[in-house]
């Protein structure tokens, strides 16, 4: 078996194990929160009888382990389940024949929206950070390098919602260039969709650029002291070619790693940004589900977030192996 394939399979198996552990931790953590779905949904109307009736209907009275393994068993057989609110809705209608909307159907459009936002951000952020990183390495110590460093570091140091409000203030309220609400709809044409989602995408860009740009810069500068770079310089190649042709290929592994980490962050870290811009993605759904203690939905959202990390990390590792001939052809 090719070593890369073997590593991939190993890592996938480990990933599945990670997901199972994550699902258990989340399940236990949501259980530890005060209040459950019945109490959350009834609010002030939570009389003991009403709470009991809802708990019975959706099986909240079963012991913790039974509920967890029931859920896990269904998941393994490919059934993501039904949200508590759908279950309650069905018993409210008083029939077994009610068509329940499975979680998959609830999540699919939200998932698409989140991926769209993450993708849009990546398309903006990755080229910008790589370019700025390369240029900063090239003009190390110059005014450009310092400005790039200060801007990106201050944007990564501010909380996301603060960046979101600052951007909204200027781009939406003051200059009125972009809409402050990112309420994308399924029937929107692509261009309008991009325009509507641009403000959250820019916010996320500010958040992830610093990390990627700094890593690119550091990895390249690290190599600039190597003898082969000196050799290249002595050959009389222009500085930009030295960096792009000679330094960058060898610096790819750490850059790919940090890009992948940031992409994973884009999928999971959108929660706050989605809420601030009322963007109909998974983050908003997740916040809603946690508020109402709708455990099945919380679980699936967490699994999606965890899978994003596992898969993107795996991709990063494989790509860094492929980008390194020594690892590609082990002795």
């Amino acid at each position: 078996m090719h070593p890369v394939l073997r590593i991939t399979l190993q890592r996938l198996a480990l990933g599945v194990l990670t997901l199972v552990i994550v699902s258990f931790v989340i399940f236990a953590a949501v259980n530890l929160l005060p209040g459950d779905f019945a109490q959350a949904i009834l609010g002030q109307g939570a009389t003991p009888e009403a709470v009991e009736a809802i708990r019975n209907d959706i099986g909240l009275n079963d012991p913790f382990w039974i509920r967890y393994f029931d859920w896990l068993g269904a998941l393994v057989s490919g059934d993501l389940g039904v949200s508590y609110s759908q279950m309650m809705f069905a018993t409210g209608m008083g029939g077994e024949d009610i068509q329940l909307i499975p979680i998959t159907e609830q999540i699919a459009p939200r998932f698409y929206n989140t991926m769209f936002l993450a993708g849009l951000t990546a398309i903006i952020a990755v080229p910008i950070s790589l370019a700025v990183g390369v240029l900063a390495a090239l003009y190390r110590g110059s005014a450009f390098d310092r400005i790039a460093n200060i801007t990106t570091l201050s944007s990564i140091s501010s909380p996301e919602f603060f960046l979101a409000y600052v951007l909204t203030l200027f781009l939406a309220v003051q200059w009125q260039i972009l809409p402050s609400l990112a309420s994308v709809t399924p029937e929107m044409p692509l261009f309008e969709r991009i325009y509507t989602a641009l403000l959250p995408a820019l916010t996320l860009t500010l958040v992830v650029t610093a990390h990627m740009m700094r890593m690119t810069r550091a990895a390249i500068i690290n190599l600039l002291a190597s003898p082969y770079i000196e050799m290249a310089r002595l050959k009389g190649i222009s500085p930009i070619q030295v960096i792009v042709k000679h330094a960058l290929p060898n610096a790819l592994a750490p850059i790919i790693n940090v890009v992948a980490l940031n992409l994973a962050y884009l999928v999971t870290g959108v929660v706050v940004v989605e809420v601030v811009f009322a963007y109909p993605g998974i983050g908003n759904l997740f916040v809603d589900a946690v508020r109402s203690r709708d455990i099945p939905v919380v679980q699936i959202c967490c699994l999606i977030f965890a899978s994003a990390y596992v898969l993107l990390n795996l991709t990063a590792d494989i790509l860094s192996i492929l980008s390194n001939p020594r690892l590609r052809h082990p002795k």
Binding site: P34, G35, Q39, S85, A172, Q176, S183, V275, D288
Partner: protein, 513 residues
């Protein structure tokens, strides 16, 4: 900010101000346009099932646009027919006959009639039904179809408010035999038909052609209602013109909105009130003098000023508000009086008093701060209040009705009887004071079946006076419903105060300016 020249502001703003001040409608009602509103109170679990509606988003789109009830409360607070044309009661207020409107159809073309009323009400009355409106329909013992457009209800006990209760936002009229489909798709008899509904995200609606409310309501051609739970996002959406109106204006940013000439803030004082209920069967709250000491130990005006930032009115320790018909506005107002509080404490045989007050911002926003203000004002009367901060999660299950004294919130009810019966009738599940007063309970029963409104007024006044002076709950303040709209849309000048957003009927009552 959009810059506006001083001259331009004078020309537009001042002229509008003068017109508004003279009470003249700035423009006549006209059909057309698309209304876009942004509302808080939306959830991914929302559906068109009226039994589950509890927050402003679904109430505004379902009760206020897509579905109709039998009766409707106008912006002036008057009860008129919606799907019912008229109604009459037997002299004991036990049998009620409703004449239904003829020629009404549901959005799918099905004609509306008596069967629809019976089946829609059955959703709430049925054994084991999980309806939030169950308490208000539980007294119905029999429902009869007495004609294609006439129904008769028999109640276990007389209730003079029965037609009022039929305007409740849970009791929507669905097409008989197609209720499941109607709940799935949102098929009602309202002015607006559902085009797209994405729970917790948005609702798209268009105006129905040829509706029985033509000429009275339903001015917009289409309506988009966006779910914006985040307060800053909602305010920004209005400021940047992405929506024309928003609910729940953040008190802290309200001055900024007022400063913007394109935005009008509208607020009404309704029945929404905050309370500090004490369990009067537990010592020391069983002593009337302790309760009275606490009533004089609180500075209500300070709370309105600091917690609500002025967007409210002082309460008088009873749950009836300005949106109620028989609100006793001339009742002597309880004032902060440390000496008097001390006096009542002495009468109870105490030199000082130490008590716990459980509070959480889950009870109402600012509840912990309010409790601390209470602590400070009561201190000079010799009352030591220990504020216990409780978690917001599970507050209603673990603290309210359990701890002897806590913070609480009520949205209020459209009728006096409904409010009293919900929380102050002896033995009801939500009775958060356990206050047993024979005269109060006797009046509650008597007023319920009283059809003579003069007598009824006297009875309800006496009940409010009794609660105010002896009752087990402190009502420091009524919280206003504060909304804001852009100058693109306008209204008649009278705004309903039963619920947020013109009693949740902004969509059908407002129009493009």
């Amino acid at each position: 900010m959009v810059s506006i020249s001083r001259r331009g502001l004078l020309a537009s703003g001042a002229a509008a101000g003068v017109l508004a001040a003279t009470g003249m409608p700035v423009a006549a009602q006209q059909r057309g346009g698309t209304l876009r509103i942004g509302l808080a109170g939306a959830n991914t679990s929302d559906s068109w099932d009226g039994r589950t509606h509890s927050d402003s988003y679904m109430i505004t789109v379902a009760h206020g646009a897509v579905f109709d009830c039998l009766t409707e409360v106008t912006a002036e607070g008057e009860l008129v027919g919606e799907l019912a044309e008229s109604w009459s009661a037997s002299s004991d207020a036990k049998t009620w006959t409703f004449q239904l409107r003829k020629g009404v159809t549901f959005h799918n073309g099905k004609p509306f009639g008596a069967d629809d009323v019976l089946e829609s009400l059955q959703m709430h009355v049925a054994e084991g039904a999980k309806s939030a409106a169950k308490p208000i329909v539980s007294s119905i013992t029999e429902m009869k179809k007495t004609g294609d457009h006439e129904v008769e209800f028999t109640l276990a006990v007389g209730n003079a408010d029965f037609p009022f209760l039929m305007s409740d936002y849970h009791i929507l009229m669905y097409p008989a035999g197609q209720i499941e489909e109607a709940i799935a798709k949102g098929i009602g008899t309202g002015l607006y038909r559902v085009e797209a509904f994405d729970p917790g995200v948005r609702t798209l609606m268009t105006r129905v052609d040829g509706h029985y409310k033509d000429g009275r309501a339903g001015w917009f051609d289409s309506v988009e209602v966006k779910a914006i739970n985040d307060s800053s996002a909602r305010m920004n959406a209005l400021m940047t013109g992405q929506v024309d109106a928003v609910n729940r204006v953040d008190f802290k940013t309200e001055p900024l909105m007022r400063a913007n000439p394109m935005i009008n803030v509208f607020e009404v004082t309704g029945n929404q009130h905050y309370t500090f209920p004490m369990l009067t069967n537990i010592s020391p709250f069983d002593q009337i003098n302790v309760r009275q000491a606490l009533k004089y130990g609180i500075n209500r005006q300070e709370m309105v000023d600091k917690i609500l930032l002025g967007h409210g009115a002082v309460g008088n320790d009873h749950p009836i508000g300005p949106a109620n018909q028989y609100y006793a506005s001339d009742l002597p107002q309880l004032e902060y009086d440390a000496d008097r509080a001390r006096h009542h404490l002495k009468k109870a045989g105490l030199d000082s008093l130490s008590i716990d007050l459980s509070a959480s911002n889950g009870a109402f926003s600012g509840a912990v701060d309010a409790a601390q203000l209470y602590q400070a004002s009561a201190k000079s009367a010799g009352i030591n209040i220990n504020v216990v901060q409780e978690p917001a999660d599970g507050y209603w299950s673990n603290v309210w009705l359990k701890k002897p004294w806590c913070a609480c919130y009520w949205s209020g009810r459209a009728t006096e009887d409904w409010m009293f019966a919900t929380a102050y009738e002896s033995g009801v599940p939500w009775n958060d004071t356990n206050w047993e007063n024979a005269r109060f309970q006797e009046l509650l029963q008597a007023a319920r079946a009283e059809l003579d409104s003069t007598k009824r007024r006297a009875q309800y006044y006496e009940m409010q006076a009794l609660m105010s002076s002896e009752g087990g709950t402190i009502v420091p303040m009524y919280a206003n419903y504060v909304g804001a709209h852009s100058s693109r849309i306008t209204n008649s000048g009278t705004i309903g105060n039963l619920w947020q957003m013109d009693s949740s009927r902004l969509i059908e009552r407002w129009w493009m300016s």
